[in-house]
Amino acid sequence: MTRAAFIRNSLAMGIGFPFLTNFISACGRDEFQVPEFQTDFSGKVIVIGAGAAGLAAGYLLQRYNVDFQIIEASSVFGGRVKRADNFVDFPIDLGAEWIHASPAILAEIIDDPGINANIDFITYNPQTFKAWNGEKWTNHNYASNFYSEYKFKNTTWYGFFEKYIAPELLDKIVYNQPVVKIDYSGNQVILQTEDNNFYEADKVIITAPVKVLQSNIITFLPELPTTMSSAINSISMDDGLKVFIEFEEKFYPDLFVVGRFLQSLSGDDKIFYDAAFRKDSTRNVLGLFTINSQAAPYIALGSDQAIFEKIMEELDEMFEGKASQHYIQHVVQNWSKEPYIKGSYSYNFENNQEDTVNTITAGLEDKVFFAGEGLSIDNQATVQGACESGYTAVEKILT
């Protein structure tokens, strides 16, 4: 069974995404190979978006000495891979945090046998699990015996890209240039940005998140074929939020949920977790990861401060006022509010996933191609999936 099939089946059986990965690794490692090929391509490529998919695409284009540029809407690279540097004594992943595969995937993404480096990771196998039912706690420590995956020990997903993928790309990235129009009616593709700057290329790879594509921030000339736009619209991507709160004391278990334990882990996720678990740190940092309908009520509150206050209210109720008593500082990352991300990650496919992905990745008139986490069949919704889709789009263009 492939990882994708396994995820689909398990979700259908009600096993939630975060709890899947150690079963997934039991299915064997997915083939993740940076493509190798011959090419005589000599044109220019523009990549829209400097998230994991866009950076991976740039990394491969660089390897094949292709003339390319990456146009990014925001002022930083990384997209949903983002780091809070000076929050505590270890870097915090504000977006992707877990390595949802064997850590060997990091070597596979880089694909450079000449590199002389190691990365330390931790086995993320929380030992204490609890569920809060509104009145009392129940213990679910048995889960430590079947849930486990990996995290970086001293760095982050952002740090990984910063050190191993991005260095050679930095002068190719143009920041603060949201693309608003893509004209692919002529021989060359012409991109127009919000500031009315124009860029021309022979081929374009769009890595904007599904939700951005759905919100018509980018208009296409000619319009997207109906098959393409309905395929894009059939992928769901909803709210996403991460919050980290530092406390003087660790008064919480390694991982806890609100509601019925197994039910909370299936479907939409809302998980509180000890973000300092097995990190080299003396600090106490509680993380909240929540997406989709569980995140929506927080997002609806509007401001980061209102979201934080609501969470503190909930924690105080659960821990008899200890949250306010031991509070030091916090950081809120509202992914739904990011204008060029607009949510968490692709979740559900209305129709057959493979057909939907194939329709989108077929591209437009051999000039405009699509990549991004939602377009990886084997590693959807993950960083490595985003990279894989970026590599595949480049291979399509160059071969």
Binding site: N22, I110, I115, N116, N118, T123, N141, S144, R278
Partner: protein, 206 residues
């Protein structure tokens, strides 16, 4: 939580395959039987804590007490109380290798001369868990070096199941078990699983 890389490496490398462990255990369990006259069935089982971990164990049943009751007409029910020392190995893939010693007090009963007998047992075990808590990946090759930490648990369990007694030489058993993994200084956790295996009499002199 102390680390002993030499022990870890030995156990990891030499005893990786449960198969070798079983052979080793059979040898061990066979030793004390030589020259004895009592039936001491040896059992070898496959078991799966939580359904996702798996391993093997071997043990012997040392008879302690036998008695019979004949409350119903033409039905004699016999009971055997045994002490079952066991040794085993199981793995939580990619996370923890576990080695354990266990002592169970088991009661089996069977009607007349039927081979089927329900059984119940209570046990107490020591479990050494070698947990891969962190590691390092070589970015050129993808090779992973894990650092393991030794964890020591006490594991009281209760089990319910049944035996099909050996006819000539081989019988079968199945049981479900439930217990707690208790560890000093940390919160324990429930252990639950199922076990199936074969039993055979090595010594048939009796």
């Amino acid at each position: 939580m102390n680390k002993n890389p030499i022990v870890d490496e030995y156990l990891e490398k030499k005893m990786k395959s449960p198969f070798y462990l079983i052979v080793f255990l059979c040898f061990l369990t066979n030793l004390p039987l030589k020259g004895q006259n009592t039936k001491m069935p040896v059992s070898i089982g496959y078991f799966a804590p939580y359904g996702v971990q798996y391993g093997a164990k071997a043990g012997i049943s040392i008879p302690w007490k036998n008695w019979e009751s004949d409350r119903k007409e033409d039905q004699i029910r016999s009971y055997n109380l045994t002490l079952d020392p066991q040794i085993g190995y199981f793995v939580f893939p990619e996370v923890q290798n576990n080695f354990f010693l266990n002592m169970e007090l088991a009661i089996r009963s069977h009607k007349n001369e039927k081979r089927f007998s329900p059984m119940a047992s209570a046990g107490l075990g020591y479990l050494l868990g070698l947990q891969k808590q962190e590691g390092s990946v070589n970015l050129a090759t993808g090779e992973i070096d894990f650092e393991t930490t030794a964890l020591h648990y006490f594991v009281p369990t209760v089990s319910l199941g049944f035996n099909i007694k050996p006819k000539k030489s081989m019988g079968y058993y199945f049981k479900g078990f439930f217990g707690r993994k208790i560890i000093r200084g940390l919160e324990g956790s429930t252990i639950i699983g199922a076990e199936a295996g074969i039993t055979f009499n090595i010594n048939q002199k009796n």
